[in-house]
Symmetry: C2
Subunit: 285 residues, 2 copies
């Protein structure tokens, strides 16, 4: 079984990013990471993203707010970041505390700076297959892993387990754009095992530790594990029991070290695309 | 085989519409039908929609423009209709002539008046499963036909042939919202027959006359035909060879007389919903 490590995709995207950056005048584009509270998941993602983007030669600035900030105060602060011409892109760490209306923030974010595709404008573009839209970085990272491994999706049966707006739904549309035949499964799917076994490519994005094993896999299938869970021993694991796939799957992504590590590389590329578009718009005006 | 006639759904929706209308003060809500040029398809749909909505006790006004109107002139005229407080909803007959940028019109339409779901705001809501969004009427008509027949979709295998933004994609999201396991097929699907045979419910929206026959159908499946085509003899027909389904499918919609007739009933309900929301917003303000 081929192990599809995220590092190979990150390296390829880094090369692309380097040429985009070299072609750009002025200071390197800046990412604003917006965080409310001190959730360990958020802090960990913020550290990882900062390290990755800085290693790509990009700038990162964190904007952190207390967990009990009011909706109004937060929206005022967010509007300033949104308008700041030195900020080329924004990553909002979600979920937000419940006093802040996340839908209002998603509708307010400048779609051109919305690197993780939370704006309805970008969602509509991804839904329609418009390449100008920013898809959520994790969904796009799945496509990048397949691309790096030279695994085409055209005409293939792709089964996606999970229907969130962060992975399942946008991934289904990215796959459809590349001419895959796409099936979307979820908690109400009858006989999930049988449906998963139809897959040439199985993408697991259900968020449940090791819920899928080799009995869900057709011989020779490719398995992409988007899950990041903590198991009963406190260890990171995916939605797939990786060890069980040996001798059954043709290729699979590990967790950790798989799709997750590609997400921040996609974020970096989105930042460069956003900056390039903003510069082009200024020149045109 | 049960024949799922559209008339039954139209009648049910008409009853719902009558109670919505009875609860409403002032004149009946008005639909603006916006047409550019004199395409026979558009004229026929306009006549059908006008007749249906008037039979529901609703008002309809047609706004017709010459086929060679410029983009700028059209946008000016469209903006007036969009702002008109007496217009509760808009139906734009598409496709528009090529000098008019349809994307610009779709982005300009007031999402609250966008009864056929062409605005990115409504597309994003349908994508996210938000019930506040207006889905394209034809996609929603499929759900209505199933509802009228008492055919649930939860946990069922639903296969959709076609991936347009008018039917295939929005229908996939409406099905997902109702907990179906959804597969989307298209021209690049390998072994379309085998995939279609997995369906408990098969929805054909490919726009190709009689491309599917009984050999694509599992015994006892439900077949919903969204296609409206003209065959080699000039007769209306669907994407499915209806006659061949007898003894194989459990139920199927005919063409004509099936989904197509429900589309304008859904349009009428959307108009009433839009009018009710506009009145509620005025009261609140």
């Amino acid at each position: 079984m081929e192990i599809l490590k995220g590092a190979a995709s990150s390296a390829r995207i880094k090369e692309e990013a380097a040429s985009l950056l070299a072609a750009m005048e002025g200071p390197a584009p800046k990412l604003a990471i917006v965080r409310v509270g001190e959730r360990p998941d958020d802090l960990s993602y913020e550290r990882g993203a900062t390290k990755k983007l800085e290693s790509f030669g990009l700038r990162v600035q964190s904007f952190a707010y207390p967990a009990d900030i009011s909706h109004e105060e937060f929206m005022d602060a967010f509007a300033k970041i949104n308008r700041d011409e030195d900020v080329a892109g924004i990553l909002l760490l979600c979920p937000l505390p419940k006093q802040i209306d996340q839908k209002v923030v998603a509708a307010a974010i400048d779609p051109l700076k919305d690197l993780d595709g939370i704006s309805p404008v970008n969602a509509a573009k991804v839904f329609a297959g418009d390449p100008e839209g920013f898809a959520p970085c994790t969904a796009e990272a799945v496509m990048e892993v397949l691309k790096t491994a030279g695994i085409g999706v055209r005409g293939k049966r792709v089964v996606i387990v999970g229907r969130s707006m962060v992975v399942g739904r946008p991934l289904s549309m990215l796959m459809l754009k590349e001419d895959a035949t796409v099936t979307i499964c979820h908690t109400k799917t009858a006989d999930l095992r049988a449906v998963c076994k139809e897959a040439d490519i199985l993408a697991a994005a259900a968020g449940k530790a090791r819920m899928l094993d080799e009995s869900y896999i057709r011989d020779g299938a490719v398995v992409i594990d988007v899950g990041i869970n903590v198991d009963e021993n406190g260890a990171l694991c995916g939605d797939v029991d990786f060890q069980s796939l040996e001798g059954k799957a043709a290729a699979a992504t590990p967790v950790p070290g798989g799709v997750g590590t590609v997400t921040t590389a996609v974020l970096a590329r989105h930042l460069l695309l956003a900056a390039a578009r903003a510069k082009a718009a200024v020149k045109k005006a």
